[in-house]
C-alpha cells in the first residue's frame, strides 16, 4: 500500500494474472471442448462471417451482442486459425480489461480484500467453462455471460469511494465505468442494462455523482457514435425483443425457487457480510447497494443458462469487507470483533478460485498436448473434442461430429458454384468449417424455446433469401429445434427447394431456379418483426 492509498500490489497482481491467464489460453492456440460443441460453432460461425465482411444485425440476425462475434473474429485474425479464435480472442479481452480492473480494485480495496476478489474475477473471465459446471465440462459456450459477470463485478466495486482520491481520479473512474458498461451492452444487453441501472443508483451518492454522470453521458455518446458506424442497433433490439418474447422473464415460481436454493450457500455467506456491514454503518444507501448486488445477480442468472455462480455476491461481499475494514481503521474506535471477516471473503471466493484455476489449467494442458479428436472439417483442425472419462456428454457430441463429417461429404456431391448452406438445426458449422461464403439474412443461433418457438420465428422469405442449399439433419444436435424448424418451414422448403440427395445423417435440398418472390406465400407470424435492414446483405 502506498502513501497515496492506491494499492500497487493489487494492481500489479491483476495485470500479471491477466497476462498469465491470457498466455495459458492463447499460447497453445487450440480450442479444447468436452461439452456444448454446438454453442462453440455459433461463435466460430460468427467469426467467419465477420471475416467474410458481414456485419452483425445487418447481414445476419442475432440477439447476442456484436462483440460476441467480434471477439472471436479478432482472435481469428490474430491467430489465423479457427482453433485460435476463441482462446486468443479471450486472451485479448483479458489484457484489455486488466488496466481497468487494476485501477478499480487498486483504488478501492486494500490488498487483503482486493487480491482475492481480483483473482476470482480474472479467473471467471479466463476459464473456458460455464460457471457452476464441473472441472471436466470444458467449453467456451456462453462466454458472454462470464464477460458480463466480470465486468459487472468490477463495476460494483466502484460503489466504494476511492480510499484516497487522487488527481485524475474522477476521469479514470468515469472512463473505466463507461468502458465496462459498453462492453456489457454490446456483449449481452441484460448485463448492460444492470450496469446502467447501477450508474444511475450511484447518482444518489454526492461524492461519486460527478463521474457517474460523466460515465452515463459518455456511454450515450459512444452508443450514438457506434450506431453511426454500425447502423445495426434497431435491428439488434428487434432481434433481442424476439428472443425476449420466446424466453424472456424470470420464469415460473418453480424456477425462481430453484435458483434461490441452488445459490443458497452463497446468499447466506453474502448475508454475513451484509449483516455485519450494516450493523456498523446503518446506512440506507449501503442497504440499497447490497440489495442491488443480490437482486441484479439473481435476475441475471435467471436469464442465463447457468445453475450456479452469482458473481455479484462475491463483489458485494468484498465491498462489505472493505466497509468494515475502513470503519476499523478509524483511530480511537474499538477494533471490531469481526476483523477476521477477510477470512470469510476467502471462504467465499477461494473454492471458486481453486475450481476455476484447475479448469483453466486442464484446458491449457489438453490444448498444449493436442489431445482429443479434431472436428472433421478442414478449418476446424484446431478444435478438439476430448473424452476425459467414459460416459458423460462425449458420445452425443462424438455422434454430432460424425454427422458433420457426413454432411461435409454430402456437400461435396453438389455440382456447380460453392453452396451457401443453411442448416435446420441449432447452428451451421459448414460455412466456417469448409470456408464457404456464409448465408446472408439468417440467424446465427436457432434454439427452440430460447431464441425461436412455434409462434416466433424468422420469416421464411428472410431466412431462406440467400441459401442455395438447405441441410435437414436426421441426427440433430438439438432435436426440438430441428423438429420445430422442419415444421414451421416445411412449406418454404417444399416450394423453393428440391431434395437433391440423402446421406445417412442428412437430407440435402437445393434451391429451385424460380425467383423467390413468386413462390413465397408464407406470411410467417404476425408477431414476427420485419427483416429490418438485412435485405441485400449490406
Amino acid at each position: 500500500m502506498t502513501a497515496t492509498g492506491f494499492s500497487r500490489p493489487t494492481a500489479l497482481l491483476v495485470i500479471a494474472l491477466a497476462v498469465l491467464c491470457a498466455l495459458l489460453l492463447a499460447l497453445p492456440g487450440e480450442t479444447v471442448t468436452t461439452k456444448y460443441v454446438n454453442d462453440l460453432f455459433v461463435f466460430l460461425d460468427g467469426a467467419h462471417r465477420i471475416d467474410q465482411g458481414q456485419i452483425p444485425n445487418r447481414d445476419f440476425h442475432t440477439a447476442l451482442g456484436p462483440l460476441t462475434y467480434y471477439i472471436p473474429a479478432l482472435g481469428l485474425w490474430l491467430s489465423g486459425t479457427m482453433g485460435g479464435a476463441m482462446p486468443v480472442g479471450m486472451a485479448l479481452l483479458l489484457v484489455a480489461l486488466a488496466p481497468a480492473a487494476a485501477w478499480i480494485l487498486g483504488s478501492r480495496l486494500r490488498p487483503a480484500i482486493g487480491i482475492p476478489l481480483a483473482v476470482y474475477l480474472v479467473l471467471v473471465l479466463a476459464v473456458p467453462a460455464n460457471l457452476g459446471e464441473s472441472i471436466a465440462a470444458l467449453s467456451f459456450a456462453m462466454f458472454y455471460n462470464r464477460i458480463g459477470w466480470t465486468a459487472l463485478g468490477l463495476l460494483l466495486v466502484l460503489y466504494l469511494p476511492p480510499r484516497h482520491a487522487q488527481a485524475g481520479q474522477p476521469v479514470l473512474d468515469g472512463l473505466c465505468a463507461s468502458g465496462l458498461v459498453l462492453l456489457m451492452l454490446y456483449t449481452k444487453i441484460s448485463y448492460g442494462a444492470v450496469g446502467i441501472g447501477f450508474l444511475v443508483f450511484l447518482l444518489l451518492d454526492p461524492r461519486q455523482r460527478g463521474w457517474a454522470a460523466g460515465a452515463l453521458a459518455g456511454i450515450a455518446a459512444a452508443c450514438l457514435a457506434i450506431e453511426f458506424v454500425w447502423r445495426g442497433s434497431v435491428s439488434h433490439i428487434t432481434d433481442i425483443m424476439m428472443a425476449g418474447r420466446v424466453s424472456g422473464g424470470l420464469g415460473t415460481p418453480d424456477r425462481v425457487l430453484e435458483i434461490l436454493l441452488r445459490n443458497l450457500a452463497d446468499y447466506i455467506l453474502f448475508a454475513i457480510f451484509v449483516v455485519l456491514a450494516l450493523a456498523r454503518t446503518r446506512g440506507f444507501r449501503d442497504f440499497l447497494f447490497f440489495g442491488f448486488c443480490a437482486g441484479s445477480g439473481f435476475v441475471l442468472i435467471a436469464q442465463n443458462f447457468q445453475h450456479w455462480g452469482i458473481v455479484t455476491l462475491g463483489a458485494g461481499a468484498a465491498v462489505g469487507a472493505e466497509i468494515l475494514a475502513r470503519r476499523d481503521g478509524v483511530p480511537g474506535q474499538r477494533q471490531s470483533a469481526f476483523a477476521g471477516i477477510n477470512l470469510v471473503l476467502l471462504g467465499l471466493v477461494l473454492p471458486s478460485i481453486a475450481h476455476l484455476s484447475a479448469t483453466l489449467l486442464l484446458h491449457a494442458g489438453l490444448a498444449a498436448s493436442h489431445r482429443g479428436a479434431s472436428v472433421p472439417l478442414p478449418k476446424f483442425e484446431g478444435i478438439r473434442l476430448v473424452q476425459l472419462w467414459h460416459g458423460g456428454d462425449h458420445p452425443a457430441f462424438s455422434r454430432y461430429l460424425a454427422s458433420i463429417e457426413d454432411g461435409a461429404r454430402a456437400l461435396e456431391d453438389i455440382q456447380g458454384s460453392p453452396a451457401r448452406v443453411l442448416v435446420l438445426d441449432f447452428v451451421s458449422p459448414f460455412a466456417a468449417g469448409l470456408g464457404l461464403r456464409p448465408v446472408a439474412g439468417d440467424n446465427t443461433w436457432h434454439h427452440w424455446g430460447r431464441t425461436i418457438d412455434e409462434t416466433h420465428f424468422p420469416p421464411p422469405e428472410r431466412l431462406f433469401q440467400d441459401a442455395t442449399v438447405v441441410l435437414e439433419p436426421k441426427f440433430p444436435i438439438e432435436a426440438w429445434t430441428a423438429n420445430g424448424m422442419r415444421e414451421v418451414y416445411a412449406e418454404t422448403l417444399q416450394s423453393r427447394y428440391r431434395l437433391s440427395h440423402e446421406t445417412a445423417d442428412w437430407k440435402v435440398y437445393v434451391a429451385q431456379p424460380e425467383p423467390a418472390e413468386t413462390v413465397s406465400n408464407s406470411d410467417g407470424s404476425p408477431d414476427t418483426p420485419p427483416a429490418t435492414g438485412s435485405a441485400g446483405g449490406g
Binding site: A265, I272, F338, A339, G340, I341, L343, L346, G347
Partner: protein, 524 residues
C-alpha cells in the same frame, strides 16, 4: 456472543432446546410425508412391522443394514401404533437420545461461539427428512442411517479436542458418550462403526485422552458382547455384509476424484481453518487428524448414495477453529485474522443448516396440513406422497403407488393370504395389509447394490418362507430378479391370480400345509 473459552451450561441447554424443537417438529404431526424414494421408505416400515411381529434382524430376515435401522422405526411404531409415525417419532426419539451427548461433547470441548452453530447444524442433519445434498423438495426418510452416521461420527471426531476443563467425571462421561456414539454407528451402518473404532484406536496415541478412549473401546466391546448374547445374529449380519460388499463394496479412484471435486468448496474452507491452526500450532498429530477427517469422509461418502455432504470435514474444521482460538489465548498479541475463524466455521455450516431447517419445516408443514395423497393399503393411512412445486419423479412414485393399490386389491381376493413376498425392491404388502411377514427373505433387494447375478441368496433361502409371491409386471428392479429366480419360481410356485400390474404365484401344495420357514442364519 464472545470468543471466550469458558464452558457454559447455557450452551448445553440451548442445544438441548434446539434438539427438542426439531424432535417436536418431526413427531407432533404424527405423519410421514415423502416426495421421493418411496420404495426406500418401505424398507423401514416393513422392517418396523417385522420387529413388531416378533422377527429379529439377521435371524428372521437378511439385511446388510444394522439392526437399529429397523428397531428405531419399530420403537416409533410401538409407541404410536401408527406406521405413519414410525419414522418421524423414531427419529425424534433418537434426537432425544443424542441431545445430551451433543450437549456434553460440544459443551465440554468447544467454546459457545463454535459449539452452538456446529451443534445446531449436527442436530439438523439428524432431524431433516431429506438425503443430504438434495433439494428441499426431495423429502424422504430414505437413507436416514447415513445422516445419523455422519452426525455421530462428527461428534466423536470433535472429542479429539481435549476438554476445556479436565476432571474425573469428565473422563467417565467422555467414555460413555464415545461408546454410545460408536455403538449407534455399529448398529446402524457398519462402515461408520468401523471408522469410529479406528478413530478410538488413534486416540490411544494421545496421552491426555488415552483414558476415556480405552474406556470407550472397552464399553463398546462389552456392549457388543452383551448384544450378541441376546441377538445371536452377529455372524449372520457379517455374512450379509460380506455378500453386499461383494456386490457393491468396491469404489475406485474415479469415485473419490469426483467426490473430491464435488466437495471442493468444503475442502477449501476446511483447508483455510486447518492451515491457520497448523501454522500457529504445528503438530504432527493434528496433521494426521485433519487428514483422517478429510480422507475417511471421502471414502464413506463414495460408499453412500448421496450427492453431497462429507460431515467429517465440518467436524475437522470445528476442531481446528477451537485449537486456533486456544492457541491465540496463550499469546500476548492477538492475531486479528484468528477472530474470523468462527465466521468461517459459520460459513461452512450455516448454508446446510438453513437448507435442512427449510426442509424440516416443509415436512412439518405438509405433515400438519395432511397434504398429499395417502399411500394405498390400510396400514399406511398416515403416510403420504406429496406433490411439490416441481414434479421431480412424482409421476414415477405415483405410478408405483398405483401398482401397489392394484396389488393390494388382488391380494384381498386371494383366500388366506399368508406370508407374502414381492420379487422387487421391497415388500410393502405385509405391513400395509397386516399379513404375517415371511421369514428367511431379504429386507430389500436392490440390483447392483446388494444383489446381482453373481452374488445373491439362493432361491430356496430367499423364497423358502413365502406362501404367495407377488411378481410385478412393472417395478423398480423386477426384471433381473425375475430372471435370476425364474427356476425357483417355476419349481416351487404356480401362477395363482393376475391383475394389470401383478402376477400372484402360490407355493405349490401350500393350500393347508404350514410352510417350513428357514432362518436367515441357516444360509451357509
Amino acid at each position: 456472543m464472545t470468543l471466550s473459552a469458558v464452558p457454559s451450561d447455557m450452551t448445553g441447554r440451548l442445544l438441548m432446546a434446539a434438539a427438542a424443537a426439531f424432535a417436536l417438529a418431526l413427531a407432533l404431526p404424527g405423519q410421514t410425508v415423502t416426495t421421493v424414494y418411496v420404495n426406500d421408505l418401505f424398507i423401514f416400515l416393513d422392517g418396523a412391522y417385522r420387529i413388531s411381529a416378533g422377527q429379529v434382524p439377521n435371524r428372521d430376515f437378511h439385511t446388510a443394514l444394522g439392526p437399529l435401522v429397523f428397531y428405531l422405526p419399530a420403537l416409533g411404531l410401538w409407541l404410536s401404533g401408527s406406521l405413519g409415525a414410525a419414522m418421524p417419532l423414531g427419529m425424534a426419539l433418537l434426537l432425544g437420545i443424542l441431545a445430551p451427548i451433543v450437549a456434553h461433547v460440544l459443551g465440554s470441548r468447544l467454546r459457545p461461539v463454535l459449539a452452538l452453530p456446529f451443534g445446531v447444524f449436527l442436530l439438523l442433519v439428524v432431524a431433516v427428512p431429506m438425503n443430504l445434498g438434495e433439494s428441499i423438495r426431495s423429502l424422504s426418510f430414505a437413507m436416514f442411517y447415513n445422516r445419523v452416521g455422519w452426525a455421530a461420527l462428527a461428534l466423536l471426531l470433535v472429542m479429539y479436542c481435549p476438554p476445556l476443563r479436565e476432571s474425573r467425571r469428565q473422563a467417565w462421561r467422555d467414555a460413555a458418550s464415545a461408546a454410545a456414539l460408536t455403538g449407534l454407528m455399529l448398529g446402524l451402518k457398519v462402515t461408520y462403526g468401523a471408522v469410529a473404532l479406528a478413530f478410538l484406536a488413534f486416540m490411544l496415541l494421545d496421552r491426555r485422552q488415552r483414558g476415556w478412549a480405552a474406556g470407550a473401546i472397552g464399553l463398546t466391546l462389552a456392549a457388543c458382547g452383551l448384544v450378541e448374547l441376546v441377538w445371536r445374529a452377529s455372524f449372520a449380519h457379517v455374512a450379509d455384509l460380506l455378500l453386499t460388499s461383494q456386490v457393491s463394496g468396491a469404489r475406485g479412484v474415479v469415485d473419490w476424484a469426483f467426490g473430491l471435486l464435488r466437495h471442493l468448496a468444503d475442502y477449501v474452507l476446511f483447508g483455510i481453518v486447518a492451515g491457520l491452526a497448523l501454522w500457529r500450532h504445528p503438530s504432527w498429530r493434528d496433521v494426521l487428524f485433519y487428514g483422517f477427517c478429510a480422507g475417511v469422509g471421502l471414502v464413506i461418502m463414495a460408499q453412500n448414495s448421496q450427492p453431497w455432504g462429507i460431515i467429517t470435514i465440518h467436524a475437522g474444521a470445528a476442531v481446528a477453529a477451537e485449537r486456533l482460538l486456544r492457541e491465540e489465548e496463550l499469546r500476548d498479541e492477538a492475531w486479528a485474522l484468528a477472530r474470523g475463524v468462527p465466521l468461517v466455521l459459520l460459513a461452512l455450516v450455516l448454508p446446510t443448516a438453513v437448507h435442512c431447517f427449510m426442509a424440516l419445516s416443509l415436512h412439518a408443514g405438509l405433515a400438519a396440513a395432511r397434504s398429499g395423497e395417502p399411500f394405498p393399503m390400510p396400514g399406511y393411512g398416515e403416510v403420504r406422497l406429496a406433490l411439490l412445486w416441481e414434479p421431480g419423479d412424482h409421476a414415477f412414485s405415483s405410478a408405483y403407488l398405483a401398482s401397489l393399490r392394484d396389488g393390494a386389491a388382488l391380494l384381498q381376493n386371494v383366500d388366506r393370504a399368508g406370508e407374502v413376498s414381492v420379487l422387487d425392491f421391497v415388500n410393502p404388502f405385509s405391513a400395509g395389509l397386516g399379513l404375517p411377514p415371511p421369514r428367511g427373505d431379504n429386507a430389500w433387494l436392490h440390483w447392483g447394490r446388494n444383489v446381482n447375478a453373481e452374488h445373491h441368496l439362493s432361491g430356496g433361502d430367499l423364497l423358502g418362507g413365502v406362501r404367495l409371491l407377488m411378481v410385478p409386471k412393472w417395478g423398480i428392479n423386477n426384471l433381473p430378479l425375475a430372471e435370476l429366480y425364474a427356476d425357483t419360481i417355476r419349481d416351487q410356485f404356480e401362477p395363482h391370480a393376475e391383475s394389470a400390474s401383478w402376477t400372484v404365484h402360490r407355493r405349490r401344495g401350500s393350500d393347508d400345509r404350514k410352510i417350513a420357514a428357514p432362518r436367515a442364519e441357516a444360509r451357509p
